[in-house]
Amino acid sequence: MAENLLEVRDLTITPAGADGPVLKDVSLSLAPGERVGLIGESGSGKSLTAQSVMGLLPEELRATGTVSLAGFSGNVLEAKERTLARMRSDIVSMVFQEPMSALNPLMRIGDQIAEALRIHGSTDRRAVPGRVLELLTSVHMPDPEGARYAYPHQMSGGQRQRVMLAIALANTPRLLICDEPTTALDVTVQKHMLDLIAERVAAVEAGLLFITHDLAVVAGVCDRVIVMNSGRIVETGSVHDIFTNPQHEYTRGLLASSDLEATDANGKLFTLKTALAYAGPLGEAGSPPEAGTNPDENVDADVEPTTASAGESGRVRTRAVDSPRAREPELTGQSAPLIEVTGVSKLYKARGLTLRRRSEVQALEDIGFRVSAGQRLGIVGESGSGKSTLLNILSGLDRPTTGHVRVGDVRVESASASALRSLRENLQIVFQDPFASLDPRMRVEDIVSEPLIARGMGRDERLSRVEEMLLAVDLDSAAMRRYPHQFSGGQRQRISIARALVTRPQILIADEPVSALDVSVRAQVLNLLTDLVDDYALTLLFVSHDLGVVQHLCSDIIVMKDGHIVESGTTEDIYANPREEYTQRLIAATPSLAGALASAG
C-alpha cells in the first residue's frame, strides 16, 4: 500500500435520501510526485472525489470505499475530524476554484498563511514570519513584504490564488489538489497561474491532482489524465494518448467540443453528439478535415507551439470566418450604421460627505466604434477593461460622462424614459450567469413572456410567442410550466436567449454568455447563437474574455484594455497580425488543444 501516494478504491457516494449514488465505484491511484489531471463536466463527480481525499465531504453525503494516503494510517473516509485535521495541509493540501471567497476577508494575508504553519507546529514560532515571507516570494507575489499586511480585498483574483497556493504548500504536503484553480481567472492570469503551479509542485516534489473541465488547461500541467462522466471513470491514459487517440466516446466528445478551432461540415462547432466526425486537435486522424478549414492549419500547429511562445509572434491558427457567413458589411459600414458610439468616456467618482477624496476611476476613455446592421462584433478584454460599463451605457442602464451613443434612431445618452423603453425592445441582453439571472420563483413561460407584457400584448398571443421562441432555442413546450431550478446551466442559458429574442430585437448583446458553462454545453449554445443570428438577422455584440469563443462567432473584434480600445479590425486580421503587444499576449495565452499538446509533448 505504501507504494502509491494516493489510493482510492471503490469510492461510492450517495446523498442522504437519494435513490442512487452520485459517484460509483471510483478507483484511482497516484504515484509519489505524479501529476494527474481529473477531467469532467460539472456533476461528473470530480470535485466530490477530491473532497473525499481531503475528508471534506459535506455531512449529508455518505461515502463508502477506501481512500488511503501514504503517511496516513487508516481509511480517510472513516477517520475522525480531529485526525483528519492533522492530516490536511500536512499530507494533502488543496487550492480551490473561487479565489474571491476562499480567503477570510477579515484577516491579513500574512496571518492566514502563518496560521497554516502554526496549526501544525512544524515551524519554530520565531521563524514563522520569515517563512511566510519566503512562501509569498516563492509564489512570485509582487511586493511580498507588503502583501503580508494586505487584506484579501486589496488583491486581484490572480494574487489571491497565489496566496492560496502559498497556504496550500506551507507545510510541503506530499499531494496538492487543485480544483479548477484557474477557471475564475482571466486568460493571461490563468497562464501564469498554471506555470506557477507546475513550478511549485516540481520544487517541493509533491504529487498533483488537477481538476478541471477544460482539456486545454490540463495538458501543460499533467502527465496523466483521468476522464470522469456521470460519477464514473470512463478513461485513463497519458495526455498524449487521450488527446490524440481517445478510446471512449465521451472523451472524444469532450475533445471535440473543447476545440473551438474545428467545425463540422456545416460550419458548426462539434458537440458531444456530432463528435464522431471530429478529426482530433491536430486533425491527423483518418476522417477528412472539415469544410472551410485552412489546409495549412495542421502544418502550422505542428511547427509552431503556440502557448509556449507568449508574446513573441502572437501566432495562432488563423481560420477564415466561414465563407457562408462572410456576408457581413465591413466595420466602417456603407450606409448609416445601426450603432454609433463616439468619444464615450465614463468617470466614476468615490465621494464622501466630508473630506472629498478625489478617488476617480476612469472606466472608459474616448471609446468610438460603429456597428452596421447584421454585423457580429466581438468585444474582448479582461476583467476591469471596461466591457461591462460599455454594455451598460449602450443599453441605457448607465449614462456616459461625455460622448454620444446612438442605437437605431435613439440617442441613448439623453433618451427619455419612453425612448429607452423602445430601445430595450430593440436591444436585448443575455447575461453571464444562467443561475443568477433568472427569477427562481417564476415559471419559464412568465420569464420569457415578461418583456411582452410591457407591450400590452394579450396572454394567448404572448404564450404562442413564448412557445415559438422556446422551440427556436431547442426546448420543448413542456418547459413552459416549469421553474428555472429544474433546468441545467445550458438550458437556462437557452431560456435567457429566448427571453432576449421574444421581443424580436434587431440587436442582441451577449455578455459572456458561455463562460459559466461546461465545454460541451458551450459548443451547443454557441451553435445555437450562430443559428439564431442568421435566422433572425440579428446584429450581435458578443462580449467575452475568451478569444477562442469570439473568434468562432464574430466577424469583427474590438480589443479593450483599461477603458481604451487598443485594437479593432476584422477577426481574421487581428488573429493574423495583431499589432498591439496586449492583443498578442491575449492570443498567446488563450488555451487551445493543439497548443497545449504541443507544449506538453
Binding site: 476577508p105 477579515l106 496549526i119 497556504i167
Partner: protein, 315 residues
C-alpha cells in the same frame, strides 16, 4: 478609516439638527400653545397670556427654537409650565435608570444569544439544535410584559427571591440595586435574546457555508475551530446591526416594563409628561430619545469598519 468616522460623525450632527427642528415644529404646530395646553380648556385668556409672557411664548418661533436649542446645549431643558420645576434633573435621572436597565438587558441578551445561536447552528441536525430553534421561536412570540408577569409570579410572589417592584440607585446600596434590577432586566432580555438567537444562528449557518471556512479546514483546523477563528467575526456584522436596532427599540420599548415594575425610567417620565400635558417636558424627553438612538447608530456604524476592513476603504 478617519474619513469614514468623520463622515459618520457629521451625518450624526446633521441628523440631530434636523431632528430637533422636526420635534420643535411638531410641538409648535399642535393646536393651542404650550401655555394653553398646560392650563387646560377652562383657563381664562388673561391667565394664558400671562403664562405666555412668563415663558416667552409670545416670541417668534425661530427665536424660541434657538432659545430652546441653546438651553439644551448648556444642559438646560427649560422649566415645566405645569409644575414650574426644572426639567433637566428629571431627564438626567430617568435616562440613567433606563440606561442601566436597557444596557444590562442587551448585554444579557447577547450573552445568551451568541453561544445559544452558535450552538444551534453547529447542531442544526440534532434534537438539541432543533430544540433551541423552537424555544427561540416561542420566545419571540411572548410579549415582554407577559414574561414579566410570569417572572414576578414565580420568583417574587411564590419563591420570594426578588422584590416584585421598585427601584434603588446603585449609590443608595448596591445589594438593593441589584436585587431590584434582576426581574425587569431578565424580562426584557429574554425576548431580545430569543430574537437575537435566531439571527446569530442564521448568520453562523451562512458563515459555515463560506469558502474560507473550507479553506481553514483544509489548512488543518477542525470544523468547530474554524468557526471560532474565522467564522464568528464574520458573523458579527449582521448580529451587530440587529443588536443596535434592538437597543434603540428598547429605549422606548422598556416603558411597559418600567410601568410594571414601577421604575422611574425615561419611558415612564414620557408617559407622565403626556398625561400631565406638559409639552415642554415631552419635547425635551423626545429630543433626548432621538439623541440616544442616533448615538447608538453612530456606535454601530463605527463598529462596522473595526470588524470589517473592507468597509474602511469602501466608504
Amino acid at each position: 478609516m478617519i474619513t469614514y468616522v468623520a463622515n459618520r460623525a457629521l451625518q450624526f450632527a446633521l441628523s440631530l439638527i434636523v431632528a430637533s427642528v422636526a420635534v420643535f415644529a411638531l410641538m409648535s404646530l399642535l393646536p393651542g400653545n404650550a401655555a394653553q395646553v398646560a392650563l387646560g380648556t377652562n383657563a381664562t385668556p388673561e391667565a394664558v397670556a400671562a403664562l405666555e409672557a412668563q415663558y416667552g411664548l409670545d416670541q417668534p418661533p425661530v427665536l424660541r427654537y434657538f432659545d430652546w436649542m441653546g438651553g439644551m446645549l448648556t444642559g438646560d431643558f427649560g422649566t415645566s409650565y405645569v409644575t414650574g420645576a426644572a426639567i433637566t434633573p428629571v431627564i438626567v435621572g430617568s435616562v440613567q435608570v433606563t440606561g442601566i436597565l436597557v444596557i444590562a438587558s442587551i448585554v444579557l441578551a447577547i450573552l445568551i444569544a451568541v453561544p445559544l445561536g452558535t450552538f444551534a447552528a453547529l447542531e442544526q441536525r440534532n434534537w438539541i439544535g432543533v430544540t433551541i430553534s423552537a424555544l427561540s421561536q416561542i420566545g419571540i412570540a411572548v410579549p415582554n410584559f407577559l414574561a414579566a408577569i410570569i417572572l414576578v409570579m414565580v420568583f417574587s410572589l411564590t419563591l420570594g427571591w426578588f422584590p416584585s417592584q421598585g427601584w434603588m440607585a446603585p449609590v443608595e446600596g448596591v445589594g438593593g440595586f441589584l436585587v431590584r434590577l434582576v426581574l425587569p432586566v431578565v424580562s426584557l432580555a429574554l425576548v431580545q435574546a430569543a430574537i437575537l438567537t435566531r439571527y446569530v444562528r442564521s448568520a453562523v449557518l451562512d458563515v459555515m457555508r463560506e469558502d474560507y471556512i473550507r479553506t481553514a479546514r483544509a489548512k488543518g483546523l477542525t470544523r468547530t475551530k474554524a468557526l471560532f477563528v474565522h467564522g464568528l467575526r464574520n458573523a458579527a456584522i449582521p448580529v451587530v446591526t440587529v443588536a443596535g436596532v434592538q437597543l434603540a427599540t428598547l429605549l422606548v420599548g422598556a416603558v411597559i416594563i418600567e410601568q410594571i415594575f414601577v421604575i422611574p425610567g425615561i419611558g415612564s417620565e414620557l408617559v407622565r409628561a403626556v398625561a400631565n400635558r406638559d409639552l415642554v417636558a415631552v419635547q425635551g424627553i423626545v429630543m433626548v430619545l432621538v439623541l440616544l438612538v442616533l448615538v447608538i447608530n453612530l456606535i454601530v456604524d463605527v463598529l462596522y469598519p473595526i470588524i470589517d476592513p473592507r468597509i474602511r476603504t469602501a466608504a
